[in-house]
């Protein structure tokens, strides 16, 4: 391990560690129970509702919120916006952990998890949207891992390996961008076969575009939120000054504002193309308007005002609202507006064990981020590699 990085000794028993430990224990117990007794007793999934919280939140939302990795690395390495360089490693780490947890969530959700590699070795089904997602997620998880390794190699002092991976940066970024564009939209494409199950306000033949654009919003908003949080929690690690962070936040707000504007336009155009105006006056329409008004229009205005007035507090609040909005959108598509015509007793509601496993997975991601960022050069530059990125 490199000697130039000081290892800060922290107490093991802290309120955060105790609470996180209890949640992880509960999650491990619920996970073990699910594998011991199967899906039927441990979840509320059935043939009418085969996809529940683990797909709706852990996979659909997890992939969208992990989009910061490809968004920021493309901005820095492909579009030359070098001023955002300090955000690349935290975004890539968040992306890697996010995708890793997507795969873990998928393993818990699959009735026969040992069949996860089947798309590659048994039945490829290359015309299937699910195959494309399996391929892209597997490849992108690998790409994110390789993109993250320079930080680990710097920490370990493995200079040759670090130099080798560093040379691949541009190629990996391009590959990651292609893979993300493909599977972020294909997650939406999976719902193209559900016109009779998904409420018409959320269903659209353009749903892949909705998913991709909203993933860009999620990625940018997560980076704004996470960088502000890291700056506070890891104040002793962060090298970027408050002024520099504010400048980056303001720049990201402009991009997120434009992305939200585009998203709003394509959502309205979708309603117009399918002539669904009358549905807006129904209870589901009110819920739809709540999603669009509260979590698309509101953060868009917040970002615009924050950027114009250079008010980072407004921008960070808008980022939180936008992130909650993406979570709500994915849950609406996969749970709340799905099977909307079924009577109430046949509708899906997550089993407590499903909720416990999901909360435990999110907690595991936060703990891993904290552990890695507290040791490796994620939020600061390694002294031996300063300015080499």
């Amino acid at each position: 391990m490199s000697e130039s990085i000081a290892v800060v000794k922290r107490p093991l028993i802290t309120p955060f560690n105790v609470i996180a430990g209890l949640i992880l224990l509960a999650g491990a117990g619920a996970g073990l129970y699910r594998f011991a007794v199967g899906l039927a007793p441990s979840t509320n999934l059935d043939h009418l509702n085969p996809w529940g919280l683990w797909i709706g939140f852990d996979v659909m939302t997890g992939v969208a919120l992990a989009a910061g990795g490809f968004t920021i690395s493309s901005a820095v390495y492909l579009f030359g916006l070098k001023e955002y360089q300090p955000l690349v490693r935290p975004a890539l780490l968040t992306g890697f952990l996010g995708y890793f947890l997507v795969v873990v969530g998928l393993l818990v959700d699959l009735g026969q998890p040992w069949r996860l590699p089947y798309p590659f070795v048994v039945q490829s089904g290359p015309t299937s949207a699910l195959f494309e997602i399996a391929l892209c997620v597997a490849l992108y998880l690998t790409v994110l891992f390789v993109e993250f390794t320079p930080a680990a190699f710097e920490w370990l002092g493995w200079k040759r390996w670090r130099r080798l991976v560093h040379r691949l940066t541009i190629a990996l970024t391009i590959f990651g961008l292609i893979l993300s564009t493909m599977h972020q939209s294909t997650l939406g494409a999976m719902y193209l076969i559900t016109p009779s199950r998904l409420h018409p306000l959320w269903y659209s033949s353009h749903i892949p575009v909705h998913f991709f654009v909203s993933a860009v919003i999620a990625g940018l908003s997560m980076v704004i939120f996470e960088s502000a949080l890291s700056h506070r929690v890891f104040a002793d690690q962060v090298e970027v000054t408050h002024e520099k962070l504010d400048e980056m936040t303001i720049g990201l707000a402009k991009a997120a504002c434009v992305a939200l504007g585009i998203y709003l336009a394509i959502k309205v155009v979708s309603i117009s193309l399918d002539n669904e105006w009358a549905l807006l006056l129904t209870p589901y329409g009110h819920w739809y308007l709540f999603e669009i008004g509260g979590f698309v229009v509101l953060p868009m205005i917040g970002y615009a005002i924050g950027f114009r007035e250079r008010r980072t507090t407004i921008i960070r609040v808008s980022a939180v609202i936008a992130v909650v909005g993406i979570v709500l959108n994915r849950l609406n598509v996969s749970i709340f507006a799905y099977n909307w015509q079924l009577p109430a007793h046949e509708r899906y509601w997550p089993h407590p064990f499903e909720i416990i496993v999901t909360v435990a997975l999110v907690t595991f991601g936060v703990v891993m981020f904290k552990w890695i960022a507290g040791r490796m050069p994620i939020l600061h530059e390694h002294p031996e590699y300063r300015g080499e990125h």
């Binding site: 434009v258 504007g261 336009a265 155009v269 117009s272 193309l273 002539n275 114009r308 007035e309």
Partner: protein
């Protein structure tokens, strides 16, 4: 609306108007967003 022709005529017409409004609106929105950008 009685025929598919009617449906597409109406929805496409509406969508073109909305798209044009968004394009015009985007200019105003961009000007609002960036009007103070170059000022110190």
């Amino acid at each position: 609306m009685h025929t598919l022709q009617d449906f597409f005529h109406f929805t496409k017409g509406m969508t073109y108007i909305i798209a044009a409004l968004f394009l015009v609106g985007s200019i105003g929105f961009w000007l609002f967003l960036t009007s103070r950008e170059d000022k110190p």
